[in-house]
């Protein structure tokens, strides 16, 4: 059967071949991503439920495993209501503007050594640029709805995302100074050695700030003033229903996974195994065991899961920040700390402090 597929494939012109391969790769990234998003909502409800001493959804399917499917089906069959006085074109286009960047950023994520859709050298810059575009979806949604709550939510989230982008950008500058590269694969390779070689240790303040800014960037609790259901109903997506709302939802959760993934790549060594440097090389070369204990996709997934769990944990624990306190935290705490730590990293790199920055 495979020869048959292969014969058709080789008969195609070269350009079409490349195209087909890229599309197949995109599908291989997107399908699991969407599945993860669906089950992240389930995990969120379960974990928050458990932390509130409840048991969460458990009626749809065994232990509630089919709950996200039921939610998706429900949302698909609901009507998309477009308010009479809204700007219809912008109203329709803003969910797409929101989810587009959230998905596009995955193109440069290296899942394992060489397992990356677009291995570009400006990977970090691309990520920073693309995730910033996501804010337009939110702003345009708030504007197009022609509703006070939506506009307020959009204003809040715009100001918040722009403020935290700066602290986040500085944290990324620290990473690229430490790694000496913008290519995400090279950043991970620069961390290889052992758990202590990962950048979380020399860049600890930047790591904490990056993750907290990431939580703020995705408008998650405790920085969810953009949604603030107790004050402005649901913020920028008040007027959205059905699948249009679901797309915003998808974008938010895809962004959560993206931020967790980036934290894992930039500070926790991505696909690198934490057992590296502890176990002798002989163990790593054992067929199956070495595959499990050695570097690979599964370690990246595990690290992503840990960060996601922390995001859910935050939501179950912290009350919402007051708006002016969010701004204070972003501008007067995070940005100064990152700038100071950039100096420290600069000195460290120049002084070639081992084990992170020695010339090989």
């Amino acid at each position: 059967m495979f020869e048959w597929v292969e014969s058709i494939f080789t008969a195609l012109p070269f350009g079409v071949q490349t195209m087909t391969l890229i599309i197949l790769k995109i599908i291989a990234i997107l399908l699991p991503l969407m599945l993860c998003v669906a089950y992240l909502t389930y995990a969120e409800r379960k974990i928050i439920g458990y932390m509130q001493v409840r048991i969460g959804p458990n009626r749809v399917g065994p232990r509630g495993w089919l709950q996200p499917i039921a939610d998706a089906v429900k949302l698909m069959f609901k009507e998309i209501i477009i308010p009479t006085n809204s700007n219809k074109y912008l109203f329709i286009i803003s969910p797409m503007l929101s989810i587009g960047p959230a998905i596009a950023a995955w193109a440069v994520i290296p899942f394992s050594d060489g397992m990356v859709l677009a291995d570009i050298n400006a990977g970090l810059l691309y990520i920073l640029a693309v995730t910033s575009v996501g804010v337009y979806g939110v702003i345009i949604a708030g504007w197009a709805s022609n509703s006070k709550y939506a506009l307020l939510g959009a204003m809040r989230s715009a100001a918040q995302i722009v403020s935290y982008e700066i602290a986040m950008g500085f944290a990324l500058v620290g990473v690229l100074m430490a790694a000496g590269s913008l290519n995400l694969g090279d950043i991970i390779r620069a961390q290889s050695g052992s758990v202590l070689h990962w950048f979380w240790l020399p860049l600890l303040p930047l790591f904490v700030i990056y993750f907290i800014s990431g939580v703020a960037e995705t408008n998650r609790a405790p920085f969810d003033v953009a949604e603030g259901e107790s004050e402005i109903v649901a913020g920028f997506h008040v007027e959205y229903s059905g699948m249009a709302f679901a797309v915003f939802f998808l974008a938010e959760y895809a962004n959560m996974i993206l931020i967790s993934c980036l934290s894992a790549i930039l500070f926790l060594g991505g696909w690198l195994s934490p057992l590296q440097g502890i176990l002798p090389d002989a163990v790593m070369s054992v067929p199956v065991l070495g595959g499990i204990l050695g570097d690979g996709l599964h370690w990246l997934l595990l690290k992503i899961a840990i960060f996601l769990f922390f995001m859910l944990w935050f939501r179950a624990t912290f009350p919402r920040y007051r708006y002016d306190q969010i701004m204070r935290l972003g501008w007067k705490v995070f940005i100064p700390i990152t700038i100071v730590w950039l100096l420290v990293v600069g000195v460290g790199v120049l002084a070639e402090i081992p084990p992170w920055w020695h010339k090989g």
Partner: protein, 162 residues
Amino acid sequence: MTKLIRYLKSLFLLELIQGLRLTGRHLFTRKVTLQYPEDKTPLSNRFRGLHALRRYANGEERCIACKLCEAVCPALAITIESEQRADGTRRTTRYDIDLTKCIFCGYCEESCPVDSIVETHIFEYHGEQRGDLYMTKEKLLAVGDKYEKQIAAARKQEAAYR
């Protein structure tokens, strides 16, 4: 000094970590959720659910149409009409409780001198069309006849405190 300590505490997120520890502990505690249709909470003898009109053991209805319940009802949910029967006693010809008005305060039950109008333990009932939740005398007596055993048992256990 205290200012410095407070500053360091917030810088190192100590209080946030304390909060995280608390919720983290609760992740593993036993869950208190009751799976409702399968499990039910125990009901007090004084539980105030659906109303019922009771009868004496000989089949005579208890209500003497004193209209105390109608007077005390804060939601004006009770309507009573009465007349003299052939044997000279006064009985109701109409005893209606509009459950859509009723607030289940239990005052009717408290005010009743003959323990006729009572509130039962039934709380899982519904109406399928308009008027289904308007309880007439016949419906109330039917509820009373059906659940007399339960009603009497609850009253007996509470007798010492009344």
